[in-house]
């Protein structure tokens, strides 16, 4: 007696197409992405109508938080090593190869040069804690900021200066920064802003 088989329809869906789509999107994101870079402080930039985009490479980025602390960073790992070596020579601080290696991985930092050694010894999570993010001194007495910029410029002439400052930063801090840059004849630089919508200014 032949058993009548009712063939049950399988609920399994063919995943091949979905898989194709997923990997297509994945490829797109992988190719177009540039990763968000970790910044030591959160900065709220003011908005402007300017629509010029900043180039990807050869940027000296200067970060100023609302309290006026200055952070500094350049791109290019070899250049970072060169920069710290030169800066160490200028301030009589000798850095070991391990410390130079560690420094080449630091995106932006804000410590006086005499505390750089202990800063590099910290774990990367601890570096951004408020007690460790002191800011680079840029007073007229001890203007390390000016030296960082001029030495970085000496390594690569192509470097452009980009200042990203918080909108609450007081004017004296900005004036001090601009004054320092003026002293080393860096008169062209970029100010990073976020985009203002049309409604904001009409």
């Amino acid at each position: 007696m032949p058993k009548v088989k009712i063939k049950r329809k399988s609920t399994a869906v063919d995943m091949t197409a979905m898989c194709d789509v997923a990997f297509l999107l994945l490829t797109f994101f992988m190719l177009t992405s540039n990763f968000i870079q970790k910044e030591p402080v959160v900065v709220n930039t003011p908005s402007s109508i300017s629509e010029i985009k900043i180039p990807d490479r050869n940027i000296i980025s200067i970060l100023v938080d609302g309290k006026g602390k200055v952070f500094f960073g350049i791109d290019g790992q070899e250049n970072r090593v060169q920069l710290l070596t030169k800066m160490g020579e200028a301030y009589n601080v000798a850095f070991t190869p391990a410390e130079l290696k560690e420094f080449s991985l630091v995106n932006k930092f804000g410590v006086p040069i005499n505390l750089m050694k202990s800063y590099l010894a910290l774990k990367s999570e601890e570096r951004d804690l408020p007690q460790n993010a002191l800011g680079i001194p840029c007073d007229s007495l001890d203007n390390q900021f000016k030296n960082w910029v001029s030495l970085a410029k000496g390594i690569n002439k192509e470097y452009r200066i980009a200042i990203k400052a918080d909108q609450a930063t007081t004017y004296p801090v900005i004036k001090k920064l601009m004054g320092s840059l003026q002293e080393i004849n860096e008169n062209r630089y970029n100010l990073l802003t976020s985009l203002k919508t049309v409604a904001d200014y009409q």
Partner: protein, 203 residues
């Protein structure tokens, strides 16, 4: 997975059946979307905007250079406390102080004055923009001609001076107004005792 399990059962019954070559793709899809999620969260799609400014070099700003600016063309903007803005035209002449006006960075504030001051040039730039939009001009030509218009000899010269009570946002707002009003000649300069004197009178 379920398909594979079903097939082994069939085998145990002794019936020979061809092994299916189908592979279950579900885990692979899972993995794919997991990675997509990661990349979407970790990327910054838009680059930040930037304003390019050129500061005067240190040697150039001398007392002489500043007085060279014709008083009739000079407008000084003082950035004050609590987002207030003050402006005056010209400078002290024959012991008569210029009138210090107070305004703000709203569209009806500083901008109205600048538009009035720079009206001819704004009209010319607007016309130029219209010809460009009619596809009669390339971007390069447009930029070149715009530069020619805004560096007109009769255009006002704006001096932006920040007091210690102002903040960075005020400065950017001021620079923004310069861009909106097509002002070609402006400079960020240090505040002078004369300006502080004028401000003190207002307070």
């Amino acid at each position: 997975m379920s398909e594979v399990a079903a097939e082994t059962q069939v085998k145990q019954k002794g019936k020979t059946k061809k092994m299916s070559t189908r592979v279950d793709f579900t885990p692979m899809v899972d993995l794919g979307f997991l990675l997509i999620t990661f990349f979407m969260l970790a990327t910054s799609m838009s680059k930040p905007q930037t304003m390019e400014i050129a500061m005067p070099s240190k040697e150039k700003i001398s007392e002489e250079e500043q007085t060279k600016i014709k008083a009739s063309r000079a407008v000084t903007i003082l950035l004050g406390k609590d987002n207030k803005v003050f402006y005056y035209e010209g400078t002290r002449e024959n012991d008569i102080d210029p009138v210090l006006n107070q305004t703000d960075f709203s569209p009806n504030g500083m901008r109205q004055f600048l538009i009035k001051k720079n009206y001819d040039i704004m009209v010319k730039v607007r016309e130029l923009k219209a010809t460009k939009e009619a596809k009669k001009l390339s971007d390069e030509q447009f930029e070149k001609q715009k530069m020619e218009i805004i560096s007109d000899k009769k255009a006002p010269i704006i001096l932006i001076k920040g007091t210690d009570d102002s903040n960075y946002k005020n400065l950017i707002d001021a620079l923004d107004e310069m861009a909106i009003c097509n002002i070609g000649r402006y400079a960020i300069v240090d505040i002078t005792p004369f300006d502080l004197e004028l401000l003190a009178k207002v307070k």
